[in-house]
C-alpha cells in the first residue's frame, strides 16, 4: 500500500455550507449585555438567592417558623437564634427564610394578574382604537387617579383581609401600568409594514393581534413585569403591615414588621431584619429590571 505513489486529491477545503450560525437572537444579545452590567448582575444574584432560599427553606431554616417558645421571647441575635426571636419566641431567621416563599408567591401572582389583564386591555385598546380605546383607557385613567396603596386598601376592605385578596388587590392596582405600556407599544407596532403584510395575506384581526402584534411587545412587558414584582412585594408587605394581607401566624415580612413595632426601642432586631429583607428584594428586582430595560433597548447597543 505504501509503495504506491500516494496521490492525494488536493485538499481543498470545500467550504461545506455551514449550518447557519446559531441564531444570535434579540434575547441572547440582551442576556450577554445584562450580565455585563454590574448592578443588574447584583440584582440577578439576589433574585437567584431569594429563589433558592424559597425552594430550600426547610433545609435552611433552623427552627419551625411558627413554633412558639414563650421562654425565649425577645432574644437578641446569638449563635442559637441567628437573628434573634420575636415576642412569641419564634426564630426570626427561620421566619424570614419561610417568608421568602410568600414574597415570591405574592410577587409572581400579583404581577401575573396585572400582566394578563393589562396586556389584554392595552392590546385591545391599542389595536382596535377609536371608541374601544377611549372606554378602556378612561377606566385605566380612573384607576390611576387613586394612590396605589389606597386603592389596594379599598379593594381588600371590600374583599376581606387575607393573603389571597391582598394579591388580587395588588394585581388590580398594577393593571394600569401594563395596559399603558402595552397600548403604546401596540400603537407603534401596528403601523409597521409586517402588520400590513399580515393583513394583505388575509389574516383575521385577533390573529394579527395575538400572533403578530403582541409578540413584538414582549420586551417592554418583561421589563415592566420585573419592576412590577418589586413593587408588588412592597405593596403586599404594606397591606400585611396594616393587617390586611397575610394573617398570623404566617411569616410574612410586612406582618413581621407590624408585630415587632411595639418592641422597636427594646428589641430592634425584630423589625430590622424583615425590613432589610424587604429592602433587598425590592432593590434586587429594581436593579434587575433597570438592567433589563437597558439591555433590551436597541438604541443603547454598542
Amino acid at each position: 500500500m505504501s509503495a504506491e505513489p500516494h496521490i492525494s486529491p488536493p485538499q481543498l477545503e470545500v467550504s461545506k455550507p455551514k449550518a447557519h450560525p446559531k441564531s444570535s437572537s434579540l434575547w441572547l444579545d440582551a442576556l450577554s449585555r445584562l450580565v455585563k452590567s454590574k448592578t443588574s448582575f447584583i440584582g440577578l444574584c439576589l433574585i437567584l438567592l431569594l429563589i433558592l432560599t424559597a425552594i430550600f427553606a426547610p433545609v435552611i431554616a433552623t427552627y419551625d417558623p411558627t413554633e412558639v417558645q414563650l421562654l425565649d421571647r425577645y432574644q437578641a441575635p446569638s449563635s442559637e437564634h441567628w437573628l434573634g426571636t420575636d415576642e412569641l419566641g419564634r426564630d426570626i431567621f427561620s421566619r424570614i427564610v419561610y417568608g421568602s416563599r410568600i414574597s415570591i408567591q405574592v410577587g409572581v401572582i400579583a404581577v401575573g394578574i396585572s400582566a394578563i389583564v393589562g396586556i389584554l386591555l392595552g392590546g385591545i385598546a391599542g389595536y382596535f382604537g377609536r371608541w374601544v380605546d377611549q372606554i378602556i383607557m378612561r377606566i385605566i385613567d380612573i384607576l390611576m387617579a387613586f394612590p396605589s396603596i389606597l386603592l389596594a386598601i379599598a379593594l381588600v376592605a371590600v374583599l376581606g383581609p387575607s393573603l389571597t385578596n391582598a394579591m388580587i388587590a395588588v394585581g388590580i392596582v398594577g393593571v394600569p401600568q401594563f395596559a399603558r405600556i402595552v397600548r403604546s407599544t401596540v400603537l407603534s407596532v401596528k403601523e409597521t409594514e409586517y402588520i400590513e403584510a399580515a393583513r394583505a395575506i388575509g389574516a383575521k384581526s385577533n390573529r394579527i393581534l395575538f400572533q403578530h402584534v403582541l409578540p413584538n411587545c414582549t420586551a417592554p412587558i418583561i421589563v415592566q413585569a420585573t419592576l412590577g414584582i418589586g413593587t408588588a412585594i412592597l405593596d403586599a408587605a404594606g397591606l400585611s403591615f396594616l393587617g390586611l394581607g397575610a394573617q398570623p401566624p404566617a411569616p410574612e415580612w410586612g406582618a413581621m414588621l407590624s408585630d415587632g413595632r411595639a418592641a422597636l426601642q427594646t428589641s430592634p432586631w425584630v423589625i430590622t431584619f424583615p425590613g432589610i429583607a424587604i429592602f433587598l428584594v425590592v432593590l434586587a428586582f429594581n436593579l434587575f429590571g433597570d438592567g433589563l430595560r437597558d439591555a433590551l433597548d436597541p438604541r443603547l447597543k454598542q
Binding site: 455550507p17 434579540l26 409594514e193 400590513e196 394583505a200 395575506i201 388575509g202 389574516a203 403578530h212
Partner: protein, 332 residues
C-alpha cells in the same frame, strides 16, 4: 393568453383622505384593466397615488381617514368594493396577493420564516401543518432560496435583503394568486439584486400565469418587465399605453420629463433635466391641468381646462390638451 378578458378592472377609482386641513384626493379617477399573464406598470413620483391605488384594490386603506369614495374594482367580474370584510379576507393573499417595498420591514421579526409562511398557507388552504410545511419548502425552492428546509427555521434578520424579498414573493405566491400586486418590490434592493428579483418575477409569471401589477418609480423596471404602462400624476393617470410605445413615442409632457430625468450613460456632460417644481398639494389641486404649473408646454387654457384622457393612437391614451385639439374637448 393575452387576449382573454381582463381579470382585474379598475373603473373610475377615487380614494380620498379626509384630514383636518382638507380632502386629499390621493387617487382621483384611475381606470385600468389587466389580463391574465400580463404585467401592468404603474409609474409616477412619490405621492402620485400609485401605492394608494394598490391598497384600494386590496381594500387596505386605513379608514378613517381614508375612504374609497367612488369607483369599481372588478375582479373576475365581481366588485371588490362591495364585498364584506370577511369575503375580502378570503381574497387577500389567495387570489390577489401583494409584495411590499421594503423586505427589511415587511416580515415579522419575532417569528420564523416557517411560521409566517405556514400561517399564510393555512389561512387559505385546507391543509394540515406538515403538508403546509412541505408546501413552504416547495415555495422556497421555487423562488430560489438554497437549503430551503434549513432556512425555513431562520428568523427574518438572518436573511439578506434580496433573500427576504424572495421570502416575501414565496409567501405571496403561496396560494397561487391570479393577481400579484408588487409595490416597488425592488426599490430597497441594490442593483444586482434588483435584476435578479425582476428576472425571478418574470420567470414565475411565465410558470404560473398570474397577472402582475408592478408599481414603481423606475422606468428601467418598466422597460424590463411591463407589457403596458400607466403613468400617474397627482392621483390621475396621465398616459396609458403599451410599454414599447411609451418609450418609443412618449406623449405627455410629464412622461417626457420623467424620461429626461434619467441619467444617460452616453451623454456625460449634460446636466440632468429635472422637472421643475414639486408635485402639487393634493388638498388644493390647481384649476385646470394638475401638471400645468410645472409644464414647459403649458398653454393658456391649460390653467383653466382640466383635460380628459383621450385616445391618440390605438391603445395610447393621454391626458393633455396638446392632443385634445385633434379630438373633441370634453370638459369634466
Amino acid at each position: 393568453m393575452k387576449d382573454e378578458t381582463p381579470i382585474l378592472q379598475v373603473k373610475q377609482l377615487h380614494t380620498h383622505f379626509f384630514s383636518k386641513s382638507g380632502v386629499v384626493k390621493a387617487v382621483d379617477g384611475v381606470n385600468f384593466d389587466i389580463k391574465p399573464g400580463e404585467t401592468l406598470g404603474i409609474v409616477g413620483e412619490s405621492g402620485s397615488g400609485k401605492s394608494i391605488t394598490a391598497m384600494s384594490i386590496m381594500r387596505l386603506i386605513p379608514s378613517p381617514p381614508g375612504k374609497i369614495v367612488n369607483g369599481e374594482v372588478l375582479f373576475k367580474g365581481e366588485d371588490l368594493l362591495k364585498k364584506s370584510e370577511k369575503q375580502m379576507r378570503k381574497i387577500r393573499g389567495k387570489e390577489i396577493s401583494m409584495i411590499f417595498q421594503d423586505p427589511m420591514t415587511s416580515l415579522n421579526p419575532v417569528l420564523t420564516v416557517e411560521k409566517q409562511m405556514i400561517e399564510t398557507i393555512l389561512t387559505h388552504e385546507n391543509m394540515n401543518k406538515s403538508q403546509a410545511r412541505e408546501r413552504a419548502v416547495e415555495l422556497m425552492d421555487l423562488v430560489g432560496i438554497p437549503e430551503s428546509r434549513n432556512r425555513l427555521k431562520n428568523y427574518p434578520h438572518e436573511f439578506s435583503g434580496g433573500m427576504r424579498q424572495r421570502v416575501m414573493i414565496a409567501m405571496a405566491l403561496a396560494c397561487n394568486p391570479e393577481v400579484l400586486i408588487a409595490d416597488e418590490p425592488t426599490t430597497a434592493l441594490d442593483v444586482t439584486i434588483q435584476a435578479q428579483i425582476l428576472e425571478l418575477l418574470n420567470k414565475l409569471q411565465k410558470e404560473l400565469g398570474m397577472a402582475i401589477v408592478m408599481i414603481t418609480h423606475d422606468l428601467g423596471v418598466v422597460a424590463e418587465v411591463c407589457d403596458r404602462v400607466m403613468v400617474m400624476y397627482a392621483g390621475k393617470p396621465v398616459e396609458f399605453t403599451e410599454a414599447n410605445s411609451l418609450f418609443a413615442n412618449p406623449k405627455h409632457p410629464y412622461t417626457w420629463g420623467l424620461m429626461n430625468s434619467i441619467p444617460k450613460i452616453t451623454s456625460k456632460k449634460e446636466k440632468l433635466e429635472a422637472i421643475e417644481g414639486a408635485p402639487p398639494d393634493l388638498r388644493a389641486l390647481p384649476q385646470g391641468c394638475s401638471f400645468a404649473p410645472r409644464c414647459k408646454h403649458a398653454m393658456e387654457q391649460c390653467l383653466t381646462i382640466d383635460p380628459s384622457i383621450t385616445k391618440v393612437e390605438e391603445s395610447h391614451h393621454v391626458r393633455c390638451l396638446l392632443y385634445e385639439e385633434t379630438e373633441k374637448v370634453i370638459s369634466t
